[in-house]
């Protein structure tokens, strides 16, 4: 809500006055590199991946380097250890199930990641949270007259997904949608989050049907006849929600109403707190609900809110 508001403010300001942006060349400060963890364990079948990379000076636009030769393992709260191997030696550490029925993630379990690299050990802990099922996807005819991207339809269907948040404050979700199995990009980049049934944190959207902005978030662009719409609703921890909120805010922090920059939180810490080698990124755990439908004009609804 707030970001939408600031967005509107920005638009009006831009409309009225000739504000403008120029890309400028700046010399950024130099500092030590961080170890970056990117990886989310799921309750789905198949491999699980944790990527390690190095951060670099802010204006250094070289390709990011993966961290190789690290040992990576995840232990669940029952003591079971899962080893991750960097098979291709690029910094992508993979756990492969021993059988097709073996699934690593389970709702309610807590997972501890341990990474050892260059003599430093980093640790992150995350619990796999519950996720509600998606009841349905509905769509209705709609137009986007102002669509400027020729690849995106001006006439089609706007879709919404329905589901109900669990009772109990603090369920956090990430929502992705796919058009013909290709992930749909949000209008302003970033990721779509929900806190209980709303987007922003509050104590009052608990246990509701996902509210309109969440429901409609799967359709930044219109779908057309015969498109396959897939919605993925995944549970994340509140820390992970904060991570994405802050990360999104930091890359969109501009204009008249920008905030002082704040650090993007991390759950990865060096077990030697006094070490100068720090880590960032996020080790996440997600349970997943999906729902798929194929757009059929005959089944389109009318009067959807």
């Amino acid at each position: 809500m707030k970001t939408k508001l600031l967005f509107i403010i920005a638009i009006f300001t831009t409309l009225l006055l000739t504000s403008c942006e120029d890309v400028v060349q700046l010399e950024g400060p130099k500092s030590d590199s961080f170890l970056i963890v990117e990886g989310t364990i799921t309750n789905q079948k198949g491999q699980q991946v944790i990527a390690l990379s190095q951060s670099q000076d802010y204006f250094n636009n070289a390709t990011v380097k993966g961290i190789t030769n690290a040992t990576v393992k995840v232990t669940d709260n029952e003591g079971k250890v899962y080893e991750f191997k960097d098979v291709k030696n690029v910094g992508k550490y993979v756990w492969t199930p021993k059988s097709t029925t073996e699934i690593m993630g389970a709702i309610g379990k807590t997972y501890t990641l341990e990474v050892t690299s260059n003599g430093e050990t980093f640790r992150a802990v995350s619990e796999m949270k519950r996720v509600p099922k998606i009841d349905s996807i509905a769509y209705q005819a709609d137009t986007r007259e102002n669509e400027t991207d020729p690849k995106k339809p001006k006439v089609g269907f706007e879709a919404q997904f329905y589901g109900r948040d669990f009772t109990g404050i603090g369920d956090c979700y990430r929502i992705k949608s796919f058009k013909n199995n290709k992930e749909v990009e949000l209008r302003r980049g970033g990721v779509q989050l929900a806190y209980d049934a709303a987007i922003q944190k509050s104590r009052t959207a608990d246990g509701l049907v996902f509210i309109i902005p969440v429901r409609r978030s799967i359709s930044p662009d219109l779908f057309v006849e015969k498109d396959t719409i897939t919605v993925e609703l995944t549970s994340i921890t509140e820390g992970h929600y904060d991570f994405w909120t802050q990360a999104t805010q930091e890359v969109n922090n501009a204009g008249l109403f920008s905030r002082p920059s704040a650090n993007i939180p991390t759950n990865v810490i060096n077990i030697n707190l006094s070490s100068s080698k720090k880590a960032s990124g996020w080790f996440g755990t997600s349970a997943l609900s999906t729902f798929t439908t194929i757009v059929d004009a005959k089944k389109a609804r009318t009067g959807l809110k």
Partner: protein, 794 residues
């Protein structure tokens, strides 16, 4: 603290004793009102000089004066810049006298700019320092953005006044926050002085009589804000004849009507403005955008009635609103209403009693047209005041004036009530309402001890009671810093007896101003003031937004306390044609607020946990040279300043520059009257860029680069310096519409040399490849802005 108070009390006892001593001599008083003959407006600050005694006084903001002298016959000279001097003989041998008079504007070949409606040497002789008065006529001559005469933007050209950037709302005085300015419109506080974020201010120039900005040495009659007082007085309305002013500009059209209701007894003014971008844009808005509302307007009105010689009543009000949006939209605005009764008890005692109401509110609605009531989001917020304040002025002798009075001010804070409706299910949430009452009492004395020395000393006592109508209140409890508790605090719920006072704060605020006359046209002045402020604007953004919430001092949030000392040298040259001054100040600020990482200030009932408290300091030197007379008038102001905060753990618990720390500020304002027809104006501004910080590292996740700013550094770099030149030309026509009255065309160009002044620099992933990063310079006004305005008067 206590010791200082006792000293003050003693000092006052001495004063009061000295009054009684004076009171024993047989003395008589002459008093009355001084007005403008043309429109009946009271003349503020006109000099009333007793020739035989070589002493005098000046009129107050209503044009009232009172002089008490030993019995005898006297010649009294009334003078005011731009008006013909009047000399009157008064026989005060037997009884007190009332002498009302009307002054005539000086007839001039050319219309000179009257920069001050006051005594010519007022800046040297008065006790006021760190004060800028600008006549509205002078403000109207300054080239303005889109040709719109703007009071707040004009103030930003004065020494010691800065802003965080173009388009930012409010202003910063001597290193203080935007919430530290008490903006008064006929005594009622205005909480948001801006239209369209910060581009235009809410004051209609056609309705304003005069403006005074007090940055230091603040007299005891003012209180409640820490850094400055912007006292805006509305016109009373022409009591002689009908007068209509108006203008058609690029943004607004405005009209004001003033007229007598009963000639010389009662009059009114009504002034209205409206923007019309929405009207012009209408044909271009189609489909989803057809309902787009985009406008701002304001209405200012005042009536006054002189019941008799001793009683005058005023009623004035302001109502303004900004509206934006189509289906999703928001609007905000101020409403003020003040009623005033001026009463003369005796020739020596003047009472002004004011009651006012002020409300600032906003609404945010996802469904303006009420098309989907089952799925909507509405958010309202407001701050509401009621107040009653009597102010007495006791004219003891021409050289000694005592002021005293008090105020009761109630605050109702409704920081945010939101209702979210999803499929018909409603949920309400937001921040708990809070209530406060501020009581204050003050006394102050202004005394010209000798021709060489005068002083003004006073003290204000203020008390603030905070209460809540909620069932719970919260107390901050320290916890280890973590991702969820970035400030290191959590909140404990404590059951509350509704309406019970939860916290009381009390402060003595001593005020002192000294004037040592060092020569015919020069003086040295020094001042000290302590100011207590019980309300705080929660704003974490570069420029304050209209949605920022005002909050009360609570059991967790202590009142802001500011101490300021200032020292200045004032000298006039060439028969007061040139005024010059140099002032230096040092200011300390306690209980300043900053915000922990990820602080959420909107609709968050627990926002108090995200606050960080610390202190601030600001110091600087201000130079001011002003030319008041002749064809060429204007001023040069230069400020060298530093404004810093120390708020742990920000910036590794070290001092950091505040967002409005701008080292150098230079403003040059010039106006030239070529002939009766043409006049020209120009102003130039040069300001050091605002501080900002850059991330130090980037990392990539899901194919996008994100910044890392691990040390919480604040303001380690600066945006490039700001500079801008504006010009204007005014062509006066003899006749206005329908061949009556007068009119003028104003042609202006803002940002003449088309400079892209950066507001901020920020970093982002590039659009084409989000794994790459870049730095972007944002300019709010990125080109020159020409405008034409037509003004008329008849």
């Amino acid at each position: 603290m206590m010791k200082a108070f006792i000293q003050k009390t003693l000092l006052f006892t001495v004063f009061l004793c000295s009054f009684t001593v004076f009171g024993q001599n047989p003395k008589l008083t002459v008093s009355g009102y001084v007005k403008d003959v043309k429109n009946g407006e009271g003349l503020v600050g006109a000099s009333v000089y007793v020739k035989e005694l070589s002493s005098g006084n000046s009129t107050n903001i209503y044009g009232f004066y009172s002089i008490t002298v030993p019995a005898g016959k006297y010649t009294i000279v009334f003078s005011s810049v731009g008006y013909q001097k009047i000399s009157k003989t008064v026989d005060l041998s037997l009884t007190n006298q009332t002498l009302n008079l009307e002054m005539k504007e000086e007839g001039k070949e050319l219309e000179e700019v009257v920069v001050n409606a006051k005594r010519e040497d007022d800046n040297v002789k008065s006790l006021e320092m760190s004060v800028n008065k600008i006549d509205i006529k002078a403000i109207k001559k300054i080239p303005a953005l889109l040709g719109e005469v703007d009071l707040v933007r004009a103030i930003q050209l004065l020494p010691g006044v800065t802003t965080v950037g173009e388009g930012a709302s409010g202003f910063n005085v001597r290193g203080g926050g935007v919430d530290q300015n008490l903006v008064l419109l006929d005594d009622a506080p205005v909480y948001n002085s801006s239209h369209l974020f910060g581009f235009f201010s809410v004051f209609n120039p056609d309705a304003v009589k005069d403006v005074k900005l007090i940055k230091g040495g603040i007299p005891s009659q003012y209180g409640g804000r820490a850094s400055s007082i912007l006292d805006v007085r509305l016109k009373e309305g022409n009591s002689k004849q009908l007068e209509i002013n108006g203008g058609i500009g690029a943004i607004f059209s405005r009209i004001s009507i003033e007229a007598p209701i009963i000639k010389d007894k009662a009059s009114f003014i009504v002034a209205a403005r409206r923007s019309y971008i929405d009207v012009l844009a209408k044909p271009f808005l189609t489909g989803n955008n057809a309902d787009t509302q985009f406008s701002f307007y304001d209405l200012t009105a005042k009536v006054n009635y002189n019941i008799d010689q001793k009683n005058t009543v005023f009623l004035s009000g302001y109502f303004g609103r900004d509206i934006f949006g189509n289906q999703f939209g928001f609007n905000w605005g101020n409403t003020t209403l003040s009623a005033r009764w001026n009463h003369i008890f005796s020739n020596k005692l003047f009472l002004k009693t004011t009651a006012f109401y002020s409300n600032y509110d906003y609404l945010l609605d996802s469904d303006l047209a009420n098309k989907r009531p089952d799925n909507a989001f509405k958010w309202t917020s407001n701050i509401l005041n009621y107040s009653f304040k009597p102010d007495f002025t006791y004219y003891i002798t021409p050289d000694n004036t005592l002021t005293f009075g008090g105020q009761v001010l109630t605050y109702g804070f409704r920081p945010g009530d939101a209702v979210a409706t999803s499929q018909g299910e409603k949920r309400s949430f937001g921040q708990a309402p809070k209530d406060g009452i501020e009581y204050s009492a003050y006394i102050g004395d202004e005394w010209k001890v000798s021709p060489k020395f005068s002083f003004q000393a006073g003290v204000r006592f203020s008390r603030y009671d905070f209460s809540s109508q909620e069932e719970f209140y919260y107390e901050r409890v320290p916890v280890p810093v973590s991702a969820d508790f970035t400030s290191g605090y959590t909140l404990k719920f404590i059951p509350n007896d509704k309406g019970k006072t939860l916290k009381t704060y009390q402060n003595f605020e001593p005020r002192l101003a000294l004037n040592f006359t060092t020569g015919e046209n020069s003086s040295v002045k020094a001042s000290y003031n302590r100011m207590a402020q019980y309300i705080h604007l929660m704003s974490n953004t570069a420029a304050s937004t209209p949605l920022d919430v005002w909050t009360s001092s609570t059991n967790n949030i202590k009142p802001q306390l500011v101490d300021q000392v200032a020292l200045g040298y004032f000298k006039n040259f060439n028969d007061n044609a040139y005024e010059t001054s140099i002032e230096t100040y040092y200011k300390t600020m306690d209980n300043q607020i900053d915000y922990a990482d990820r602080a959420n200030l909107f609709l968050n009932p627990f926002f108090e946990k995200d606050l960080l408290f610390g202190k601030g300091r600001a110091y600087g030197v201000e130079l001011f040279v002003k030319k008041n007379k002749g064809k060429f008038t204007g001023w040069v102001s230069y400020t060298l300043q530093k404004s810093e905060r120390l708020i742990e753990p920000l910036n590794n618990s070290d001092w950091y520059p505040s967002r409005y720390d701008r080292t150098h500020t230079l403003n040059v304002v010039g106006q030239y009257e070529l002939n009766k027809k043409w006049s020209f104006g120009a102003n130039f501004a040069y300001v050091t860029g605002v501080p900002y910080s850059l991330p130090i590292q980037q990392f990539q996740i899901e194919g996008k680069a994100y910044p890392l700013t691990p040390v919480g550094t604040r303001g380690n770099l600066r945006v490039p310096d700001y500079n801008r030149l504006d010009i204007s030309a005014t062509k006066k026509n003899k006749k206005a519409l329908f061949k009556k009255g007068e009119s003028e065309w104003v042609f202006s160009v803002y940002n003449l040399y088309n400079r892209r002044n950066p507001f901020s620099i920020y970093t982002r992933p590039t659009e084409d490849d989000p794994t790459k990063t870049e730095a972007v310079r944002l300019s709010i006004i990125g080109s020159f802005v020409p405008a034409v305005t037509y003004n008329f008067k008849f």
